[in-house]
Every structure is written in C-alpha cells, then in structure tokens.
Amino acid sequence: MLNWNLLVAFTSILGDVHSADVEKSLELMGKGMLGIFIVMLLIFLVIVILNKTTHDKNDDK
C-alpha cells in the first residue's frame, strides 16, 4: 500500500506540491534548454556553411 503523503513535498498557495512535479520541472528545464541549444547550434553551423559556400558568388549585388 503506497503512502500518498510521502509524494506531497509541501502545500503551496494553490495546493499540494508534489516532489515528483518539481523533479519533472527541473528535468524539463535541463532537456528544454539542451534542446534549444542543439537546434540553435545546428542553425549556427548551417549559416556558417551557407555563408562559406555562397560567399564568393556574392549574388546579392
């Protein structure tokens, strides 16, 4: 039999805060920021490659 009270970290303004939710939010922060940086780094690499490969043509002039 699970003791559900163990899952409640504390009671906040809007109600019980479960430690599992706090852990999830921190995991979300880690994964979310990592995901954004991976996408941004890939876009950065794409821009660098595009600038290098199309630079000489200078076709914007």
């Binding site: 999830k24 922060m29 979310g32 920021m33 996408v39 950065f44 794409v46």
Partner: protein
C-alpha cells in the same frame, strides 16, 4: 410593470465579477490608447473583454460570433496565431543574424526564463500542464503563448494571452531593471566593433527552408510555428513575390491581429478569468521576462570568460535574445548610449533579437514535444 421586466433583466443580472472584467477591459483599452502598449492587440482584447462579460451576451454560446471565431480560428487548428506567423516571417530581415551568426546563441540562452518560470509555477502549486503554458509567456511572443496554452488546454489561456502581450509592451521598463541587476557599469560600456560578412541571396533563400527542416526533424511539434514563420520569410526573400510579401506583412497580419485580439477575449469570461490563479499568472509572466533577460546577459558574461579582451561581448546584447522585436534591440542600444554616447551595439542587439524570434518558436515547439513525454 412585470411585462417590462425584460428591459432590466440585463441590469439585474450584473455580477461583481462582470464589473471587474469591464474594468480590466477598460484598463487594456486605456493602456493601448494612452500608453501605446501593444495597441493593436490590447485594444481588441479590452473591447472583447467587455462584450463577452455583458449579461446574456449574444457573442458567446452556440450561435455567438466570438465563440465561433474561437472554436474555428484557435481551438480547432490554431489558425489565427499560425497565420499571423506568416506575416511576422515576412516582416523579419534575418540579415543581421546571418552576417553575425554567433548571436544565435543568445536566442537560445534568453529562453531560460521559460523554464525557470515553469519550476516557479510548479512550486506555487500549478499543475504541470498549466505551469508549462505559463512558462511560455517568457517566449515574449504572443502567438506562441496562445498556441502552446491552447494545445496544452491550460485553464489560464486568457490570463496567459493578456500577460504575454502586456509584458511585451513593458519591455522598455522590465529589461533595463533586470540588466542593471546583473551587470556592472563597466560591462555595459563594452564596445563591440561591427564588421558584418556580406550575405548572399542564396543564403537568405536557403536559410528559412533549412531551418524549417532542422526544427521539424528535431522538434516535430515546432514545425507549425517555425514552418509558418519561415514560409513568410521565404516569400519575402525569394525576390519574386513582392506583392505576396507586402500582403503578408500588411493586410494579412492586420486582419489576423484584429481577429486574434477580439477572439482571445473568449478566454476572458469572468467565470474563467476572475480567479486567484490569474493574479499569479500575471506575476509569473513578469518573472519569466526578467529571467529571460538575465539568462541572456549571464550567458554573454560566461562567454566573455573565454573570449580575448578585444572580442568581449557587451552582456546587454545577450538580453536582447528575446522575441520582442525590435523593441528589445532598441532598449539595449538606448542603454548602451546612456552609459557611453559612442557605444553603438544596435546591429549586434538586432542580431540577437532576431535570433530570439527563432529561439522563442523553437522553445514553444520543444515544450509541446516535451509535454507529450511529461504529461503522458
């Protein structure tokens, strides 16, 4: 006398919650007209807040126009916010970012406020799906906030939309305060020479296509947001669709803005808006904007540890990595000139600011992708 009761039926049905929403609607209209705070959105939202909160209002219900607009334009497919992205994409010149791509990193770092706010919201007792929706206020991007809160079916959609647009208008007040908290005067005076590389037309055309593919492959849920933004930008940059580009930037964006503002008011009905949670959402929105700015600034300071003395980054530029364009870049330039009247960082800040527009839609998509994992 009772046969004339229908004339006062509305008056006798007024509740204090309705009156409060009329006041809030009036306040939004006042902010739009008198203070010039995002008038294109706050005015329709303010007026909408009044008409949806009249007793027995005919604009909501099965045959109500605002409810119909909401169900078809937002609930069914998020058509309004997504179509607005075509217009926004057509307005953006990615040139300053393409010529100075390291600014992209700030577009990522300045999304920190989103995730910090999610944790704060959870600590206040919000369910995780509401916390995730509230955090996206930190994207500093109204349509993204609306779309994510709608897809996650948050109970605070109206408050989130109001907070997102209100704080965007308050960027000139919020950002200087947050930046001064975490920088010294000496750091704010750092000069950054601007030597942009030339950008070819081929790069400008390929960029929106490749970014859409990258975002779609890594965070499939971001494809609608990123794809429509980049579609608008491709129309602009292809050089063959000038009329369509002008239509997307002008009439399309204007029409959708009118519809979006008044439609969002559907979520401002007193029965769903007047709660203690709404006040907390407004407070958390402010936290999100402050920590976005702090995230970008601290990331620039971190990079400066590894950069040679002549290539240091003015940390304020990192704070411009939010989506509020071009307001944030202007704020940073104004602050730089205030510290040193020869310090011109505008083009760097514009690059970071444009990166913030990409970062915010990517962040929205990543939140939606993670929601499938965390809310399952």
């Amino acid at each position: 006398m009772s046969e004339f009761g229908f004339l006062i039926k509305g008056v006798t049905s007024i509740t204090w919650q309705m009156a409060l929403m009329w006041f809030i609607g009036g306040l939004l209209i006042w902010l739009a007209i008198k203070k010039d705070f995002e008038p294109a959105l706050l005015l329709p939202m303010g007026f909408g807040a009044i008409i949806v909160n009249l007793p027995f209002t005919g604009v909501i219900g099965d045959t109500g126009i605002i409810q119909w607009l909401f169900e078809k334009g937002i609930a069914a497919s998020e058509a309004f916010p997504l179509l607005l992205f075509i217009g926004i994409g057509a307005m953006i010149d990615f040139g300053p970012l393409l010529s100075n791509p390291r600014m992209l990193l700030f577009g990522g770092a300045a999304q920190f406020g989103i995730f910090f706010t999610i944790t704060m919201a959870v600590l206040l007792g919000f369910p995780l799906k509401d916390a995730m929706s509230i955090g996206v206020i930190g994207a500093a991007d109204g349509p993204t906030s609306i779309l994510v809160s709608q897809q996650l079916n948050s109970a605070y959609k109206g408050a989130i939309a109001v907070a997102a647009y209100s704080y965007m208008a308050l960027v000139p007040l919020i950002q200087p305060m947050a930046i001064k908290l975490v920088t010294t005067k000496r750091e704010r005076m750092i000069h950054m020479p601007y030597r942009p590389d030339s950008v070819s037309k081929t790069t400008k055309i390929l960029f929106p296509i490749i970014v859409t593919m990258i975002a779609g492959l890594i965070a499939p849920d971001s494809i609608a947001l990123v794809g429509f933004l980049m579609f608008g930008n491709l129309i602009r940059e292809c050089g063959k669709l000038e009329n369509l580009s002008q239509t997307a930037q002008g009439p399309l964006a204007n029409l959708i803005t009118i519809m979006l503002g008044i439609t969002i008011a559907f979520q401002m009905r007193a029965d769903v808006f007047v709660t203690g949670g709404t006040l907390l959402v407004m407070a958390l929105g402010l936290v999100a904007f402050i920590f976005d700015t702090i995230g970008g600034v601290l990331f620039a300071k971190l990079l400066n540890i590894f950069l040679p003395k002549d290539k240091k980054i003015n940390p304020m530029v990192g704070g411009a990595g939010i989506s509020a364009f071009p307001m944030s870049a202007r704020v940073i330039q104004k602050m730089a000139l205030k510290e040193d009247n020869q310090n011109h960082v505008l083009m760097h800040a514009v690059g970071a600011n444009v990166a913030g527009q990409i970062g915010s839609v990517v962040a929205g998509g990543i939140i939606l992708s993670l929601a499938q994992q965390f809310l399952a």
